[in-house]
């Protein structure tokens, strides 16, 4: 079966997000989830009772039966959780919803994620994240793992650190046009970036994402239904997920140079990996991408993800390409993280980036890319499972 049966079969017709400073959510994850689902349904112009599918990822206590029960939906037909933390499966969750619609398993699926420190602690990790072979050696957080992988990308792979800096500065520049961004009114320049305190070398403070409390929801329906609801659905052109076997899970013994990649590269048998499968299913390539939202838990993995997708050249050339000018809307060659991203807008485990990807298709971003017809969302680089999804305007079908 060709992956192309998915192309354009489903579309995002409703989005909603809310975020608060970490620890300051006024409500529980369940209540925030319900609120954003209602808002996303209102955005789509559909009744919440019509929702028959729910997909989330990477944890969370409120599954489809719980949320559907609270909303008293007509019937639950699809309730899934995508495995994979670190935001790796965030785009995969959207693909999962579209799969249900394309195969007739469900008609109206919500993708959602809520995070509240009061409910689940920081990122939902009760204690340290890694096992004894990491902890015994001073490694207990994803930041440190990503830092070591990034260090090899810089030192061995030859990517200049300025590539990371440009990504961070572009994000902060975008946040200055987004009044709800947490970095709004707090512009960042090279000097402040370089002088910020070290966290886990090579990461400085501003290379690391902020965590927020909040919730996000996206409503997907079939392409036929989408056309009746609004003039600007964001069609899912392609989605891909996975990782080379063994990636990230064998105490940093990934094969060959996979260690310094973001995990979107070729399979261990040389067959196409996540990025190539995405392009192949979409019938488009990196040159066709108008705007990108790339998950940046930390700046280094985001650069690696762009390289994996062929959006940025590897090695020294990454430094030439990754300039603030090239990465900012409206005129950059590859405008990215146009709401401010995880770094300067908010971080609801990265699903907020998907909402911005949809806004770019609608032309409603606070940093719109003129005439954007394709909008890429890349999830969770350097996580054990990674994913990406390409949205397109109706004209791309």
């Amino acid at each position: 079966m060709s992956a192309n049966i998915m192309r354009g079969a489903a579309a995002v017709v409703g989005v909603a997000e809310q975020h608060y400073k970490r620890g300051e959510a006024p409500h529980s994850e369940k209540r925030m989830t319900l609120e954003v689902i209602l808002q996303a349904c209102a955005d789509a112009g559909i009744s919440p009772r019509e929702i028959d599918g729910f997909v989330s990822y990477a944890g969370g206590a409120n599954d489809g039966a719980i949320v559907g029960g609270a909303l008293l939906i007509d019937e639950l037909r699809w309730s899934n959780m995508m495995w994979g933390g670190g935001g790796g499966s965030v785009a995969a969750a959207i693909t999962n919803a579209a799969t249900a619609i394309a195969t007739g398993q469900a008609d109206c699926v919500v993708v959602y994620r809520a995070m509240s420190q009061a409910d689940t602690g920081r990122l939902g990790y009760a204690k340290y994240h890694y096992g004894s072979h990491f902890l015994a050696h001073g490694i207990g957080s994803p930041a440190q793992i990503c830092a070591m992988r990034t260090q090899r990308m810089l030192e061995h792979g030859g990517v200049p650190r300025t590539a990371m800096r440009s990504l961070v500065l572009a994000s902060y520049q975008h946040a200055q046009s987004n009044p709800t961004a947490q970095g709004y009114g707090r512009p960042l320049d090279e000097e402040a970036y370089e002088n910020s305190r070290l966290i886990a070398e090579p990461f400085h403070l501003f290379d690391c994402s902020r965590e927020s409390d909040g919730a996000v929801a996206l409503v997907l329906v079939s392409a036929e239904r989408a056309k009746t609801l609004r003039s600007d659905p964001a069609y899912l052109l392609a989605g891909a997920q996975g990782a080379p076997g063994g990636y990230s899970e064998l105490i940093d013994n990934d094969l060959g140079e996979q260690y310094m990649s973001a995990g979107f590269g070729p399979a261990n048998n040389g067959k196409p990996g996540v990025a190539e499968r995405l392009w192949s299913a979409a019938g488009l390539g990196p040159d066709d991408v108008d705007v990108v939202q790339v998950y940046e838990n930390f700046s280094g993995p985001a650069v690696a993800a762009l390289i994996d997708h062929g959006l940025c050249p590897p090695g020294e050339a990454a430094g030439t390409f990754m300039t603030v000018e090239n990465l900012t809307a409206p005129n950059g060659k590859l405008p990215l993280n146009t709401s401010g991203g995880n770094l300067a807008d908010s971080f609801i485990n990265g699903l907020n980036l998907a909402v911005e990807a949809v806004r770019q298709i609608r032309g409603t971003s606070t940093n719109p890319v003129d005439g954007a017809k394709t909008s890429l969302f890349i999830g969770g680089p350097m996580a054990p499972l990674v994913s990406s999804v390409l949205f397109g305007h109706e004209e791309t079908l």
Binding site: Y128, G131, S132, H133, F134, L135, A136, H137, G138, I139, G140, S141, A143, Q144, A147, M148, R149, Q151, R152, E155, H156, R197, L198, I199, A200, E201, G245, G246, L250, I251, D252, N253, Y259, M260
Partner: protein
């Protein structure tokens, strides 16, 4: 011997028991890694199966504790309570050519000020701290270990 800081708990065998021989080896100053008895593939971290030939007949072999820096990180942020007054420190990912390039993590026990470089030679030191439940394998730059200024 005093512990090289930081000492981060918990450490020792994982609940699945797969890595018991690794920790037992440290008690007698040996670095032991898993190796397939069928096809001789080196395996790390510990697994129930050989990913290469899918044999469950896995053994352990002692490896000379020396290698090269594959990557490194200097931690400044107190991600754990145990770190709070022991920052910064450097963790290295060490590639072991004698075990087909398998990589093991470890704290760099000397000189946290000088940046390691990928490819630097390092040697393992077995650290038996007073009162500690298990020894730990730390790393030193080869030049330092040989008494030169590295």
């Amino acid at each position: 011997m005093t512990a090289t800081e930081p000492v981060v708990e918990p450490w020792g065998p994982t609940p699945d028991g797969l890595d018991g021989p690794y920790w037992d080896g440290l008690r007698v100053d040996e670095l032991r890694l898993q190796r397939c008895n069928e096809c001789s593939t080196w395996i790390w971290g510990p697994q129930a199966i050989c990913g290469h030939c899918h044999s469950f007949d896995l053994g352990w072999e002692t490896v000379e504790p020396s290698g090269t820096v594959y990557s490194w990180n200097r931690s400044w942020y107190p991600y754990m309570d145990e770190y709070a007054d022991r920052l910064p420190y450097v963790t290295v990912l060490v590639e072991l050519p004698q075990a087909d390039g398998r990589r093991v993590l470890g704290i760099l026990a000397d000189d946290v000020e000088t940046n390691p470089e990928i490819g630097d030679r390092v040697v393992g030191v077995f650290e038996h701290s007073e009162g500690a439940p298990w020894p730990l394998l730390r790393w030193r730059r080869a030049a330092t270990a040989e008494g030169e200024k590295g």
